[in-house]
Point group: C2
Chain length 350, copies 2
């Protein structure tokens, strides 16, 4: 099969690789019809994080089940499914309490499982990992585009909102106007927030934030962004969604948060070791830091229900669509911020 | 009046200084009968933090009200009172929600207010700051020794337990066997924890932890302490009380905590800038970091009720008592870990 392969910073190659096969009775093989390029893929793309030369990339697969092992119960060949960015068993202590990212039997995409940006993947622990799309929605292209973000960014934005304690009537600030921040706005609105202040520095993304439910947008950086966010929330909100992960964004979130409030953070931390996290800001104001890597599998069913009901639609974050050969161009477009998020159709539009 | 004054690292002098007077109608003057030396006093004592030469020290005053301003309603001359380590107004947004440490009208002991380790202090915002001891208990020396830790360490240990989410039946680990850690054990027991594992490295303090309700003690450092704490809690508890503040202790607490659990931290952070906080440990395991500087004023009444009922007694943490002239010796004894916490009677035992 053909798949996107990492070949060094800024080098994504489309290569022929072995097609994954059923190895354990709990495996399923999925023919990937839709997937995406993630903001977190840009770190190895830019050389900011290490990745093995020759490793398959991508971690947001959606597709059609091609084959299942003997013990798979929840899906069968022909089913439309999607999967979170991590594989989880579904039955360990952590999966049972909704923290699938800590699954004791968990695994990642890539390696022998295949990366999401390829023609096929092996979904280990298929019953715990795959989410089945009800048949009557399984071939509706618009619906599939709206469901695809549930593999990662929509669940991640939701985790930020949940972790920040957003509830009916809340006032919150969302730091970051990338795909996760935009989904954080959707999530906060869905949870009933009354005021949602989106902070970023891209006019077009902030326009989308407003469409998604932000009641106010702030296009500014650094101290100016912090001051304006605090001023408009009378000193800072009790709930801040940190949707970037950079030390500067985390420290801005801490500074914006009202004393006694909570920062829900979901961006993979980077730069916090060299630049330092503002622990004194947390300590002095009793600001709680909650969140972490988002257990998006835990949120899939409730978010899918809303997508299928037509009350949740994150698909506008996909501003560019490519086929497999277009994946390198997709990375470039995201790296240069021409695209918010790129949708990939490994087998073309068929 | 006479008071303990900071004169440089390891130099505490007893000097004659002006006696504080009523300046605002909300002030009260308190004749300090009991106070203490705090573990946090050791940082400037050791030269680890800056402090102005000539500044009065101490922040845990208990005594008799000597005079009150015209607007003071809750106490009158002759009342036995104690005060938290920070002054708070009692009526701002933060005081009203129990976060007195973020009081917008707040102030510190020291300066013109006098330090706790002196003969008199001025309690600004007396109605918000002072806690009145009911008259029938006001002169019982044993009761007063048991109430004195409510000015700081008992409320701080309680904040660690509350912030860590300790509840009936909880299993928790308390990191640190200093006065705050020991009070954390008392607080966890009081909140109904079923298993309390105290981690430290002083046999006599861990013995006291066991008397206070620790169901298990671990006398070890570093990786060994972490491994033993995790092993005995089947991989880590959901609730960890971090009662030290050093980066190594905070990172140990994060590592000990079960994925999805909460670290309640109350030790003033030190070393986190140079050594770094284990943000990836928090992120990967969705471990929440909650707590901060303890709003001990918020907890004073409920903890006092238990002390007066005889069900809470932190007084064994006082292993040495001195008069005002003995304050320098008290600092030395705590610095060299001869004493857990030193009680000071500025006017002698009278």
């Amino acid at each position: 099969m053909r798949a996107a392969i990492y070949r060094g910073p800024r080098e994504i190659a489309i290569e022929d690789v072995p097609r994954p096969a059923i190895e354990a009775p709990t495996d399923a093989i999925v023919r990937v019809t839709h997937t995406a390029v993630c903001g977190s893929d840009l770190w190895f793309y830019r050389g900011d994080s290490d990745r093995e030369d020759g490793s398959p990339v991508g971690h947001e697969p959606m597709g059609i089940v091609e084959a299942v092992g003997d013990d798979v119960r929840s899906v069968e060949p022909g089913d439309r499914v999607f999967a979170p960015f991590l594989i989880s068993c579904g039955y360990c202590e952590f999966c049972r309490k909704g923290l699938h990212t800590s699954c004791v039997n968990g695994d990642s995409w890539g390696g022998d499982n295949g990366g999401g940006q390829g023609e096929y993947v092996r979904a280990r622990h298929a019953d715990g990992t795959l989410v089945r799309v009800p048949e009557r929605h399984a071939d509706d292209e618009d619906t599939l585009r709206s469901l695809l973000p549930l593999t990662d960014v929509m669940g991640t934005g939701h985790h930020a909102a949940v972790s920040a304690g957003v509830d009916t009537g809340s006032t919150c600030v969302v730091v970051g106007d990338g795909a996760v921040g935009l989904c954080g706005v959707l999530a906060a609105r869905r949870l009933g927030a009354e005021r949602i202040v989106a902070v970023g520095h891209h006019e077009n993304r902030l326009d989308l934030a407003a469409e998604f439910g932000a009641t106010e947008t702030i296009n500014a950086r650094g101290e100016e962004a912090i001051e304006r966010a605090k001023e408009t929330t009378y000193g800072g909100p009790n709930h801040v969604l940190e949707c970037v992960g950079a030390a500067s964004a985390m420290n801005a979130a801490i500074e914006i948060c009202r004393d006694g409030g909570t920062v829900g953070y979901v961006g993979v931390p980077h730069g916090v070791t060299s630049e330092g996290l503002d622990v004194f800001g947390l300590f002095g104001g009793n600001v709680a830091l909650d969140g972490g890597v988002a257990p998006v599998r835990a949120y899939a069913e409730e978010l899918m229900a809303d997508v299928l009901a037509g009350t949740l639609d994150p698909s506008p974050i996909f501003t560019k669509t490519v086929d497999l050969d277009g994946v390198p161009e997709g990375y470039r477009a995201m790296d240069e911020r021409e695209a918010i998020k790129v949708l990939v159709r490994p087998h073309g539009s068929e």
